[in-house]
Symmetry: C2
């Protein structure tokens, strides 16, 4: 693979957060809603985050530097919370590391697992960095479709395709749960079916559960690591960047086998040495939110979700599957007189509404857009009406 090929597959022009790059007024008022990521003004971090950071800064030397995998006391304090939340034990000395955001954890995990030429099963649609990271590492992507079109059925990946990939030698399966961009949650039964294939072929499973605390009422969430899979075959990524709005601190965690974490720590040493020493302290307030804080956050998101589903559903032929977990919607638009990239461009330049083209989540999603609806409610509704009308006006 030439340098040009290698980097052309890593395009970021339309990646979330980048579309506004050519737009000098991005950080000014002309953006109505940036649906490419959540709005931490509308949903601020829980109390105590900045205080924990400040305390670490004042404490000085002992907090500026840590072992690459993180401060021991924070690993210890966090292990118990993660064990309780995920329903399986976590040894803080062996099975946990603090990562530079959940994205940093994903990179480290895949870099520890994927050698050039290795095959990796990737769900489509799924988080854009899964595919890009495997490509960067010169692994081979084996796509496995997720069936999410019928909103009345549980989302399911194509198990036959997964089995084909495993049989072809896929060393790793990586997927997000709740799924980014569709908001699908994998059921216990479905996780068990996936696990059975992974165990039969020895495929290592990386689960990105960044959104696993934002689960809507009536849905249940099962953690891969307590779903029956062998503990040496799975690694879980989480962090307080989304539900808890702490993305600006770039701090997450990885939970998995000691041997893989050891490799991840070796890579972290050259990747960026460690998660910023003071930033690690925000893990203190994670899972320690005031009573009712998380419930309120879920209710608030659910309300925006209802509005967005009904607004975008108004456009003739648009199909919107309601989100089960997380704050993404991935509507399929009807055939339009313009491409989805042109649509994204026009929404941005004419109305200050930024959405992410579906093609970031798999090349075939040329009729989808992704919206992160963790936004100010009124502005999200206004932008939702604009999107629906704009789509309606361009139906072919």
């Amino acid at each position: 693979m030439t340098t040009i090929d290698r980097f052309s597959s890593l395009g970021i022009e339309n990646a979330p957060g980048q579309q506004s790059a050519g737009h000098p007024t991005h950080e000014a008022a002309s953006i109505l809603v940036d649906f490419s990521h959540g709005d931490v003004d509308a949903f601020p971090p829980p109390p105590g985050a900045i205080e924990a950071f400040h305390e670490a800064f004042v404490a000085g030397a002992g907090r500026a530097y840590s072992r690459y995998r993180g401060h021991s006391d924070l690993l210890e304090a966090t292990a118990g919370k993660i064990a309780e939340f995920t329903g399986a034990p976590v040894d803080p000395a062996r099975n946990l590391m603090i990562t530079p955001g959940t994205q940093g954890g994903l990179f480290l995990a895949l870099a520890a697992l994927v050698n050039p030429g290795d095959k990796v099963a990737i769900i489509e649609p799924d988080y854009f960095a899964n595919r890009k990271t495997v490509t960067f590492l010169q692994g081979e992507v084996l796509p496995v479709p997720l069936d999410f079109a019928d909103a009345s059925s549980p989302g399911r990946i194509d198990l036959e395709k997964l089995q084909d990939a495993a049989r072809a030698g896929a060393k790793v399966l990586v997927f997000s749960n709740p799924n980014n961009p569709t908001g699908v949650i994998y059921s216990r039964d479905h996780l068990e079916e996936i696990t059975a294939i992974a165990e039969e072929y020895g495929t290592f499973v990386v689960a990105d559960q960044l959104y696993s605390r934002l689960i809507y009422p009536g849905r249940s969430f099962v953690h891969l690591r307590s779903s029956g899979i062998a503990s040496d075959l799975c690694l879980t990524l989480m962090g307080p960047s989304k539900t808890e709005s702490m993305s600006g601190f770039r701090t997450g965690v990885a939970v998995g086998p000691a041997s893989i974490l050891k490799r991840m720590e070796q890579i972290l040493a050259i990747h960026s040495l460690r998660t910023a020493g003071y930033n690690q302290a925000v893990l203190k307030v994670w899972f320690e939110e005031p009573d009712g804080w998380l419930d309120q956050r879920i209710r608030d998101h659910q309300e925006i979700l209802h509005h967005m589903v009904s607004l975008i559903g108004k456009a003739d032929g648009a199909r919107v599957r309601p989100t089960e977990g997380g704050s993404y919607l991935f509507p399929e638009l009807p055939p339009l007189s313009i491409s989805v990239l042109e649509l994204c461009d026009l929404l941005r330049t004419k109305y200050g509404v930024i959405v992410t083209p579906g093609t970031e989540f798999g090349p075939q999603f040329r009729s989808n857009i992704r919206l992160n609806f963790s936004q100010d409610r009124q502005r999200a509704i206004e932008a939702g009406e604009i999107i629906a009308q704009f789509v309606q006006d361009h139906v072919r």
Copy 2:
């Protein structure tokens, strides 16, 4: 290369900051001095750093997320400072990015430049991550020795070996200046000799100038980027982590050709998305320290340097080249009855003095240790006396 081979070359057990990992009391008082990195209690960050961070946090959404390469206003404000300091223009829109620490910048730069099988010229001794990162990227390391033994002569790399490496197809040369671990500064003439070879063979040069603001009186420092090299052949890494003690924020910058920065930004998207949004704000206080702050910092370090050189020089047969820039010493110890790894272990476990074995900087430095003397003066002196006595007691 198998997975095992690949990771065995990335050992971190003796890397700076890690030696205390097996030492449960590390973060307690039993450590007298940790010479593996600087002490930010002895040398705190300049005023305003935590305030800039806090302000960014309070500002909220606009500062939590940025383009991958960093907030536009910070790129603009920083470009002028870097241009003035380095003596060559910096276009903030094309030639500058904010990186997750200088280490993060190093990883991104090498990942953007080195494909599997590519040859990379590496100075020995030099910063341990240069070699490890190239190995991780499956490049081939071509070592080029630095002659620093004679303290009365300027440090010089072996130009014949560099020429051999360039002729053999080295795509990249990466080096630190001031050199980590020896504190050697490359003279203007020597930089021009290096540049002539790089330009003849089209070798791209990455200069890690992390310590370029801590230059001792009587020494002059020339920036590679204004030493006459073609601007499309060089990239400079800097950051406020060392002289300015802001390592706990993991923020640095890379200055280089637009085409390379574009690739680095593509990799940053999967590496960790961006330098933590709020942390980027500490660049506001960089190069804006109060009058006299930097001079005082240099004087304080120079005083400790004098003490350390004379203390460690006391051990029979020890050779210590005084540091020209930065806060590292790399003494060569006389033949001992124990290995340098045993020495490091015993110093740590018996006296709470942590030093880094020379082998982290090149496999041949089995008689050297590295000390970062950016420490509390009294404790550094006490530890220096311990080291000298311990070495003396174990001379073969």
